[in-house]
Symmetry: C2
Subunit: 346 residues, 2 copies
Amino acid sequence: MPYNDTFLRACRRDPVPYTPVWLMRQAGRYMPEYRAIRARLGFLELCHDPAAAAEVTVTAAERLEVDAAILFADILLVLEPLGLGLQFTPADGPVLTRPVRTPDDVSRLPDFDPAALSFVYDAVRLARRALHIPLIGFAGAPFTLASYAIEGGGSRTYIHTKNLMHRYPEAWHALMEKLVNAVAAYLREQIAAGAQAVQVFDSWVGCLTPWDYRRFVLPHMRDLFAALPEGVPAIHFGTGTSGLLESMRAAGGSVIGVDWRIDLAVAWQRIGYDRAIQGNLDPVVLLADRDSIRDHVHEILRQAAGRHGHIFNLGHGILPVTPVDHVRYLVDLVHNVSAANARRVR
Amino acid sequence: MPYNDTFLRACRRDPVPYTPVWLMRQAGRYMPEYRAIRARLGFLELCHDPAAAAEVTVTAAERLEVDAAILFADILLVLEPLGLGLQFTPADGPVLTRPVRTPDDVSRLPDFDPAALSFVYDAVRLARRALHIPLIGFAGAPFTLASYAIEGGGSRTYIHTKNLMHRYPEAWHALMEKLVNAVAAYLREQIAAGAQAVQVFDSWVGCLTPWDYRRFVLPHMRDLFAALPEGVPAIHFGTGTSGLLESMRAAGGSVIGVDWRIDLAVAWQRIGYDRAIQGNLDPVVLLADRDSIRDHVHEILRQAAGRHGHIFNLGHGILPVTPVDHVRYLVDLVHNVSAANARRVR
């Protein structure tokens, strides 16, 4: 089986014969193979089991015929060695039973030991060996990790997070520095184990004012990207970031991932054409009919046309109720339509 | 007591001596006077009682010394006569027990009779009589109303709403037309009763792709704004709309309301300086300390400086846990800082 490096070439904005595609949460509950494994393993158990995590990673990528695999793991695993009591509810929602709420809580955090997550690097090695496409490693971004660590789980308002940020800026910056060091070390180990690209998920950073982003997040994100090895594509992803794109670009990442709340063409113009872009189908469109999927794919590819460096993806993870055959249909469609477009340009 | 029309003049982008301010949900659970009334009246009961709704409206505006009052009501009241079973949970969350899910459900909707909401117009008349500042009427925008009508309540993903939109576009457009007619008739009655401005809350429209907004929402919003009387300021508000501002401007509204996820200066530039702008403090900042509130107010006023037509507001409603004295502090600060800025410019 020939090796398919279309994804890596698109990350570097090299010419490619078609637009590569992978999907956030492509290994997930919508897929029967995944549910079968989860029938015998809890969510964290699966993350902790390198053979099972690698199997889930590879099965999903092969089943969908996507152009990149993403390691099966969770953005919050990097918090586990910090002793915050990471657990997952039956619906896979994260809970941290010992949240960080005060400056004292921040100063009591232990140093991060990347060796505590060796099961992740083992999973990377196993998956990499079985794949004929690139493998993406990943972690939560410091802000998004901090939001979970402080709230103790998901949130709609981020009251405790913003409160710590606004009332105790020194503690906030200390926490972010700690998380930058942890995430950088963790991603470097994933790369050393064989991950050929990494994605930094700043999933919830879109809850911030751009002014707060520039003061409380951007400098730390810059440190994080500077601490990653050169030459390995880094995807900088967030949702609801239409007001932050220029700042995210300034923070770093060779690829910027955007959600569906902005036109891809507008996003790319704001980010700058010297970066690759990843996105941006609304995951809910995959629940509609094939006509709607086709219309949206054509529109996104039209908006990206004529430039190198587009990686097709959803704007966020696949929803659990998504039909698998719609995902398969999407992948084929992106390949076929973009290949036809590319032939027309040549 | 002299009449204060600073708010209306700012809506028209006329020069004003200071930046007017009012706050979404300024009459709400954070305020002890409101909780006292709610101890004897349920949420819908309060909406249905013109004297009590007017009292809540006026008390909040007087207590805060803001420059405009907004009628105490709910964005979903306009759905009540459509027979969807509107109720509110103990936490004031809306539930519609008979949601609209299919094209048949849409075609079975009754015609809207604005007389069914006469208690709202009565409340407008009572509040207007007691106020020395302008009174704002309001309604949910057709998309946001449709999202509640279809989901049967709030949502994180809007799966059913987007599904109807994508799979049954004819039914979608029929539903939007019906809602445009209802909202237009309802707002015209509020204006006839004495509301001097109206706000259209498209609170959740930011969940859409700009492409879907242009096809499925914009034409209807244009019809809605065209159906409102000229000369009455109409505020077009949404959250998470950083990717939609140009389209919202095209849809209409003499004032565009934005949330905190975009720099006010950037938003105004995209909207165009021939419209007034309303916003955009992050409501969570009101939970921090006075220093943080002051910093954010200075930053927002700095971004708006040198132009006519800024109305200060939050980016969304006041949170129930907000300290009242922080809200009072905010109002005074906006008045004082903007007055000093205005004197400096002259």
